[in-house]
């Protein structure tokens, strides 16, 4: 039962990642693509937590922590480039 629920949620989150990819392919300007990348990073954190539940290993949660703490930095770098900050 619980496995089925987790699988369904994983499928929904994968659909979210695919939608972000669509925005990345379609987005006419670079800021659109950067926003798509950042959303994909955030959604990925949720996916990793779900997968840690699915595999039943609590040590995997550290990877999700790294994602949550670090992945915004790439977007910050791109944003600072676009406002000529670096």
């Amino acid at each position: 039962m619980s496995g089925t629920v987790i699988l369904t949620l994983t499928g929904i989150i994968t659909a979210g990642i695919l939608l972000c990819l669509l925005r990345l392919l379609k987005g006419p300007t670079a800021p659109d693509r950067a926003a798509a990348m950042d959303t994909a990073c955030t959604v990925t954190t949720a996916l990793l937590v779900l997968l840690a539940l699915f595999f039943e290993r609590s040590v995997y949660l550290d990877v999700a922590l790294v994602y949550a703490l670090l992945t915004f930095m790439g977007l910050v770098a791109i944003a600072r480039y676009l406002e000529r900050g670096i």
């Binding site: 972000c20 990877v63 992945t71 791109i78």
Partner: protein, 79 residues
């Protein structure tokens, strides 16, 4: 589960092709960052959390920032 993995692999390859065709180097860097992100999820599926952590901490933050700094020092558009 295998369908989800196949979709993620497809998305990763699509992002890599996007990095190939964009003339705007900034967009190509964003696409390659997405490649590294999806590769990290696949490492997680392959039961390699150490490698997924290394790929996440390096591919998502450091590599993008280094590329952006280099683009700032040179030129943004490929002619």
């Amino acid at each position: 589960m295998i369908i989800i993995v196949s979709l993620l692999v497809l998305a990763m390859l699509t992002a890599a092709v996007a990095a190939l065709i964009y003339r705007d180097l900034l967009s190509a860097v964003i696409a390659s960052c997405l490649v590294s992100l999806l590769a990290s999820i696949l490492f997680f599926f392959l039961q390699a959390p150490d490698v997924a952590m290394a790929e996440a901490s390096i591919g998502a933050a450091l590599v993008t920032a280094i590329f952006v700094i280099a683009i700032r020092r040179t030129k943004r558009y490929e002619e």
